[in-house]
């Protein structure tokens, strides 16, 4: 008698997992992911236990005083895990279907007996399993924290439940993008933009959307965090347990089901779409629309297409004149897309926000940097790998152009994109400048000094931003230049930049500890001020956006007189404090400029390795003395 199978045969899932297990990249990503998460968790745990056993030795921390610390540590660890899911899940899923399209293997799946929904679900499963295994790695830590006490078992179950659905939610978003776009890179960018937008709406704008993270957050901190008038619904969901929690996640499940069904329908419709740029198509439609409008209304084209031919910089010319994100006319539209919402938000915050609290503006700045970083990194990482994918690199490398010229011209071709992305950033900084101006005191010397400092802030902020964009571009080119595929180069560059960006969070705790430990007495302020400054410099030297952050600190100092914060009544005068703050800023800016120049130099130095060809400039053949004499002899 034939026994029916309890678990259905899942050939696609099996193939996917076999493929994943055969790739070196899988283990690298998993290891890095696990190391980053565990480091963050352990450092945070150390900080929390440090707080509980303040002033005691490390050995004493494992005393009874740690009992109950779980109530503080547990929510923080879970928050880190939510962040990890949001950062990693789109990267895991974006290639699930797009890669099949790139390899022309999706058609062969369609002619099998696998139904579209089976394909979608098995793809989902194949990407969920690696994420869940990474989460599983942190469970021993959760168990340890639980053992410290202070955590209700219902919260533990809620965390596991909500983390699972958070993973499925972001996997569905990634899968949807993967079904829509024809390339992994496009799907990668789109899934992170959607993820970032969702985080922006929920976490930064605090809209009460019932995502798993919001439900968790509401359950932990409730109405205080969400603000007045937004609490009732989510707080009741977040604090529920058992079936109540299942019910609370029902909207998430419905959203996931809707996205998977949409993915299923897109699977066929978008299976054989060309590799042409979606952005270019949209621009062409807009072009046609305006052309017709101009024909009827007699309008004038402000930036017409120029017929230009390359001069001495053919590679930069092509990037500038022929690429979608290079043409001036198209870049103006990209600028509009970013600039208008940013300007709108800035005006709203200026009109209705609190002049002394620029948190919302910081949120906009964060979002703009996330988008800018993503665009610059993706573009720079694929500068060489796109040539490899399209099989144009060999033809280019067999010409007289040197490796150094090629890389420099590639980056030069990105300048317009950087200018466009820098403009909304300038708008935000300009708004901050205007918000911090003390308009009533322009007639006094102090007021004018304040304006001068704020103007200096504006210049420094833009210089730091320009430097950061170049640093990210060169780092991405260095990391992604050697890769054979675009997806791999983008993954490598963005993961490193993301880790570099996020890892700075680890340093914030140290500064917090310094504050707590150092300001108990009046007489110790001066020492603490110097120590804090020292740590700030260290932090900003390490941070990817250290120079931009230093400019922000300078703004804060220039506005609220934090130069004087620690020095009133002491022998340390205001001017000296200002000098120190200025010195800190100069050191940080100099360091980051040096860092950018170093990465640029290193990339150019490694150009033969990146481009895989020898170059007279980079690899000058040095003859030994013995060889030279031998040659003289034979000659």
């Amino acid at each position: 008698m034939r026994v029916p199978r309890l678990i259905p045969e899942l050939p696609l899932l099996w193939r996917e997992l076999t493929e994943l297990s055969a790739r070196k990249r899988t283990y690298v990503i998993r290891s890095i992911g696990a190391i980053v998460i565990l480091s963050a968790v352990l450092l945070m745990l150390d900080g929390v236990s440090g707080m509980a056993a303040s002033g005691r030795s490390t050995a004493d921390r494992l005393s009874f005083e740690l009992m109950g610390v779980g109530s503080v540590a547990f929510p923080r660890i879970v928050s880190i895990l939510f962040l990890a899911v949001e950062l990693l899940m789109p990267a895991f899923t974006c290639g699930a279907i797009a890669m099949e399209k790139e390899r022309n293997t999706l058609g062969t799946l369609f002619v099998t007996r696998l139904s579209p929904i089976t394909i979608v679900l098995e793809k989902l499963g194949s990407r969920l399993i690696p994420m869940l295994t990474i989460l599983l790695l942190t469970f021993p830590v959760l168990a340890f924290v639980y053992s410290l006490g202070g955590v209700e078992s219902s919260r533990l179950y809620a965390a596991v439940w909500l983390l699972f659905w958070e993973s499925v939610l972001y996997a569905s978003i990634g899968l949807l993008c993967s079904a829509w776009y024809s390339t992994t890179v496009a799907a990668f960018v789109a899934s992170y933009v959607l993820t970032g937008f969702l985080i922006f709406l929920t976490f930064l704008m605090r809209l009460p959307l019932p995502t798993p993270q919001m439900i968790w957050q509401a359950g932990e901190v409730g109405g205080y965090w969400l603000g007045r008038g937004r609490t009732a619904f989510l707080y009741s969901l977040g604090s529920s347990t058992g079936w109540g929690l299942v019910l609370a996640t029902l909207p998430v499940m419905v959203s996931i089901a809707a996205m998977l069904l949409l993915t299923r329908s897109l699977l066929f419709r978008r299976a054989f779409v060309g590799h042409s740029s979606m952005l270019l198509k949209i621009f062409r439609v807009v072009d046609n629309f305006f052309q017709r409008l101009n024909d009827r209304a007699g309008g004038v084209m402000i930036i017409p297409d120029r017929i230009s031919l390359p001069g001495l910089d053919p590679v930069a010319w092509r990037e500038r004149e022929k690429k979608t994100l290079g043409k001036a006319r198209y870049l103006v539209r990209v600028l509009m897309v970013f600039e208008f919402p940013v300007m709108f938000l800035c005006i709203m915050f200026v009109m209705f926000g609190d002049a002394n609290n620029s948190t919302n503006m910081q949120g906009v700045l964060f979002l703009m940097w996330a988008i800018t970083g993503m665009m610059v990194a993706v573009k720079a990482a694929t500068l060489i790998s796109s040539e490899r994918t399209r099989e144009t690199l060999d033809a280019l490398l067999s010409t007289s152009i040197t490796n150094r010229e090629l890389l420099l011209q590639k980056i030069l071709g990105m300048r317009r994109l950087m200018l466009v992305m820098g403009t909304p950033l300038l708008s935000v900084h300009l708004t901050l400048f205007l918000m911090h101006c003390n308009y009533g005191s322009w007639d006094t010397l102090a007021g004018l000094a304040n304006i001068g400092l704020l103007l200096l802030y504006l210049v420094v902020a833009m210089a730091a931003s320009w430097n950061l964009m170049h640093l990210m571009a060169w780092v991405s080119l260095l990391l992604g230049g050697r890769s054979r595929g675009q997806a791999k180069s983008v993954l490598m560059a963005t993961i490193l930049l993301a880790i570099w960006g996020v890892s700075s969070v680890l340093f914030l705790r140290t500064e917090g500890e310094l504050y707590r430990g150092g300001f108990s007495g009046y007489g110790r302020e001066y020492e603490a001020y110097e120590t804090v400054q020292f740590w700030r410099v260290q932090k900003r030297l390490f941070r990817l956006d250290g120079a931009v952050d230093a400019a922000q600190q300078f703004l804060s100092a220039a506005t609220y007189g934090s130069f004087r914060q620690f020095s009133i009544g002491s022998t340390y005068g205001t001017d000296s404090s200002m000098l120190l703050e200025g010195l800190v800023l100069a050191v940080v800016l100099g360091w980051h400029w040096g860092l950018y120049r170093f990465v640029r130099w290193l990339t150019l130095r490694m150009s033969p390795w990146i481009l895989e060809r020898s170059d007279t400039d980079a690899e000058t053949f040095t003859r030994t003395r013995a060889t030279q004499s031998l040659m003289k002899g034979t000659g």
């Binding site: 031919l309 390359p310 001069g311 001495l312 910089d313 053919p314 590679v315 010319w317 092509r318 022929k322 690429k323 399209r390 099989e391 144009t392 690199l393 060999d394 033809a395 280019l396 490398l397 067999s398 010409t399 007289s400 152009i401 040197t402 033969p608 895989e612 060809r613 020898s614 170059d615 007279t616 400039d617 053949f621 040095t622 003859r623 030994t624 013995a626 060889t627 031998l630 040659m631 034979t634 000659g635």
Partner: protein, 329 residues
């Protein structure tokens, strides 16, 4: 990797040879990890020659081309193009060499004219000369009518001609063409062959790899057969046939066929084998011992009443199959 000591003694010699030799390879080894793609190929190609590079897939042809095109950083042995060391003087080698890879990598966002201007700038052709040079190569490759067409919309044959136009921009002395006829329809293939003949008449040294062996037979002055990374034969076509003792197959029809007559035919000097087929006899002949005319006379002397005497064209496929034994990787 080539080392200073390896090449030190040879360099003056190579410089002298550079006057005569367009390509010079000495004990070339190319390895990818533990796998040796090229195992000690040595080869000299004089200037003005059309050299055919034949071999099954994975034999090491493209790796050898990549070394000569300065695109392979790590290799052992010595490689010279027009007397210039590929490893030490890559920039100078690029100035005297044009390379067409075995795939169609084109920029889809450019027109044919822009594409050529792009590469003219990359080859550092002075801006004042570019227009004239591009007009010339467009005329030579018969692409003038397609100058304003987007590259992406060109047919495969046109793209291949454009690729050839690209490598002619800086007037190189040596052309390296990796499978230029691959995937082309018969008309495009014939047009490509005619174009290569024109370049040969211009005195260019052409090194060409192809699977279309009959084409190489018509075009090449010398060929080299590569298998498993080694050069198994090299020389003119006639030399290779002679060396391989490739037998000529002659089909005959005889009115008075009999076992006795067949035996007499077998005894004719130079005849290796007589195979009886449905309506004919297939004679395998050592042509280096007995010419076709001598065989014909011998058959008549043996008393055969011939109604058909049809020698098969001696082809490179036979030589190729004999040499490579189908050992592809």
């Amino acid at each position: 990797m080539s080392t200073a000591d390896d090449s030190a003694g040879a360099t003056p010699v190579q410089q002298q040879a550079g006057g005569r030799m367009a390509i010079s390879l000495r004990n070339l080894w190319v390895s990818y990890g533990n796998f040796d793609a090229v195992k000690g190929i040595s080869l000299e190609i004089p200037r003005g020659e059309v050299f055919g590079f034949i071999g099954p897939n994975g034999a090491g042809k493209s790796s050898t081309f990549r070394v000569l095109a300065t695109l392979q950083r790590k290799f052992r042995g010595q490689a010279y193009v027009c007397g210039l060391d590929v490893l030490r003087q890559p920039q100078q080698v690029r100035d005297v060499m044009g390379f067409v890879p075995d795939f169609f990598g084109v920029y889809e966002d450019l027109t044919a004219l822009e594409y050529l201007h792009f590469f003219a700038a990359a080859y550092k052709v002075p801006a004042t000369r570019r227009k004239g040079v591009i007009d010339d190569v467009l005329t030579l490759t018969d692409m003038s009518h397609k100058a304003e067409s987007p590259v992406d919309g060109l047919s495969r044959g046109m793209k291949q001609r454009l690729a050839l136009a690209r490598v002619l921009l800086h007037d190189p002395q040596v052309l390296l063409l990796d499978e230029p006829s691959s995937g082309l329809d018969p008309r495009a293939r014939i047009e490509m062959r005619e174009l290569l003949k024109a370049l040969k008449e211009m005195g260019k040294t052409i090194v060409i790899s192809s699977h279309i062996l009959s084409e190489l037979g018509q075009l090449c002055t010398r060929i080299g057969i590569v298998e498993l990374g080694q050069l198994v034969a090299e020389g003119s076509l006639q030399e290779i046939y002679r060396r391989l003792q490739v037998m000529r197959l002659i089909h005959i029809r005889v009115e008075n066929a009999s076992a006795e007559l067949e035996q007499r035919v077998r005894e004719i000097p130079g005849v290796a084998k007589v195979e009886t087929q449905v309506d004919r006899w297939a004679i395998s002949l050592h042509e280096d011992q007995t010419s076709l005319a001598e065989l014909h006379a011998g058959l008549v002397d043996a008393g055969t009443r011939l109604t058909m005497f049809q020698p098969e064209a001696m082809d490179m496929e036979t030589a190729f199959m004999k040499l490579t034994e189908g050992r592809t990787i």
